[in-house]
Amino acid sequence: MSIVATAVGAVSADFTPPGVEEFWQPLFGTDGAWAITRPILLSVLSVALISWWLLATTKKKAVVPSKGQMGTEAVYGLVRNGVAKDLIGSKEFMRFVPLLFTMFVLILTNNLFGVVPPMSYPTMGRIGFPVALALIVWIVFHVVGMRKHGFFGYWASLVPSGLPKAMVPFIFVLELITDLFTRPVTLALRLFGNMFAGHILLVLFVTGGWYMLTNGGILVVAGGVTWVFAIIMFLFEILVEFLQAYVFTLLAALYIAGAVADEH
C-alpha cells in the first residue's frame, strides 16, 4: 500500500495530465488570434477530402452503384431520408438537404480526425468551429421561419395555440430564450464538449499509460491495463464522434422543422 502510495506520489510529481493547452497548436503566423492553427489546416483538409470523395464517387451517376458510390449514397440517404424527410416532411425537406448533408459529413469527418493518425485531432474540440456551424443553423432556422410566417407571425408562432391568456407572456419569454439562446448555445457546446472531453480522455489514457509503462515496477501492469482501456476508449470515441455528428444534424433539422411547421 505504501509502495503504491509513494509510486502515485512520484507520478503526481512528474506526470502532467493533458489540459487545455493540449489543443493550442499554432503552426504558422503569429501565436495569437490570427495564428493558423492545426485545426484550421485540418478543417481545410477535411473540405478537400470530402469534396474529392463526394465528387469522385458520384461522377458516374451509375444506376447500379460502385462500392464508393454506395457508401456515399448510404450517408446521403441517412441524412436525406432518415433525418431531413422524416423531420421536415416530404413537402419542404429538399431545400434543406444540402445544408444538413454538408453539416453531417463536415462534422463527421472532422470528428473522425480525432482518432485517425496522423490528424489525431478533433477539429470540433475547438469551440470556434462548432460555434460557426451552430450560428449558421441558428440563422437558417430563424430566416426560414420568418419567411414562412412573416416577422411577427414567426415570433407569435413560438407560443403554442390554445394556452390560457395569462400564460401567454410567460411562455413567450421562455420560448424566446430557448429559441434565441438555448438552442444555438447547446448545439455548439454539446458538440464541442464531447469532442474536447473525449480527446482529453484519450490523451490522458495514452500518455498516462505510457508514463506508467516507462516508470516500471508495479505500475507496468497498471500501464498495460490503461492501454487496453485506451483502445476501448478509442472505439467508444468513434461511436461518440459519429453520434455527435448525427445529433447535431438531427437537431438542426428539428429546429428547421419547427420553424417551417404550420402549427408550432
Binding site: V20, E21, F23, W24, P26, T30, D31, G32, A33, W34, A35, I36, T37, P39, I40, S43, V44, S46, V47, I50, S51, L54, L55, T58, K59, K61, A62, V63, P65, Q69, T72, E73, Y76, R80, V97, P98, L99, F101, T102, M103, V105, L106, R126, I127, G128, F129, P130, V131, A132, L133, L135, I136, L189, F192, F196
Partner: protein, 201 residues
C-alpha cells in the same frame, strides 16, 4: 475578461495557450464558416443534384423494368393462349385424322376382301375352264383313239382292207355319233363294252 481585452489589443501572445476552451479563436471561427461555405457550395451545386439524378434514374429504371416485366408477362400469356389454341386444334386434327384413317382402313379392308373374292372366283373360273378344255381334249383324243383302236380291231377281225374303206365312208364317225345320240347304243352296249373289255383284256 481582462485577459481577453489584452489579447484583442494584441499584447499577450501566450493567452490562447491557456485561455478558457469556450472562447472561440477568431481565425478558427472564420475558418469554421469558410470551410462550411465551400463545402456547402460543392454539395449544393454538384453532389446533391448528382445524387438526386441517380435516385430519379433508379426510380425510372425500376419502373421501366416493372413495365417491361408486365409486358413480358402479357406476351407470355398471349403465347400460352396461342399454344393452347394450337394444341386443341392439333388434338381435333389428330382425332379427325384418326377417324379418317379408321374409315379408310375399313374401306381398304372391304376393297381387299372384294378383290380377293373376285380373284378367287376368277381363279376358280379359269381352273374350271382349263379342266373343261382338258376334258374336251381328252374326249377328242379318246374318241380318236377309240375309233382307231376299234377300227383296227375290226379290220383285224374283218380284214385289213376294210380300214381304208371304212375311213372313207366315215362309218366309225357315224357309229360313234349314233352311240352318243343314244338310240342304237343300248342294243350294242351289252356287246360293245364287253367287246371293249374283252379287247382290253
Amino acid at each position: 475578461m481582462h485577459a481577453v481585452l489584452v489579447t484583442a489589443e494584441g499584447g499577450d501572445e501566450g493567452f490562447w495557450a491557456t485561455a478558457a476552451p469556450i472562447i472561440p479563436h477568431p481565425l478558427e471561427f472564420f475558418f469554421g464558416l469558410a470551410t462550411f461555405a465551400i463545402l456547402y457550395y460543392v454539395v449544393a451545386k454538384k453532389v446533391v443534384p448528382r445524387l438526386e439524378q441517380i435516385y430519379a434514374d433508379r426510380t425510372a429504371a425500376i419502373e421501366g423494368g416493372m413495365n417491361k416485366a408486365e409486358e413480358a408477362q402479357a406476351q407470355a400469356q398471349a403465347a400460352l393462349e396461342q399454344y393452347q389454341a394450337q394444341l386443341s386444334d392439333a388434338r381435333a386434327e389428330a382425332s379427325r385424322i384418326r377417324e379418317d384413317a379408321k374409315a379408310q382402313g375399313s374401306a381398304i379392308i372391304a376393297e381387299m376382301r372384294e378383290q380377293a373374292a373376285s380373284e378367287a372366283s376368277r381363279i376358280t373360273e379359269t381352273a374350271k375352264k382349263q379342266i373343261d378344255a382338258e376334258r374336251q381334249q381328252a374326249v377328242v383324243s379318246l374318241r380318236h383313239d377309240v375309233g382307231r383302236i376299234s377300227t383296227e380291231l375290226a379290220s383285224r377281225i374283218v380284214g385289213e382292207s376294210l380300214e381304208d374303206e371304212t375311213r372313207q365312208k366315215g362309218i366309225v364317225e357315224r357309229f360313234l355319233a349314233e352311240l352318243e345320240a343314244g338310240e342304237v347304243v343300248r342294243e350294242k352296249v351289252g356287246t360293245a363294252p364287253t367287246t371293249g373289255e374283252g379287247g382290253d383284256a
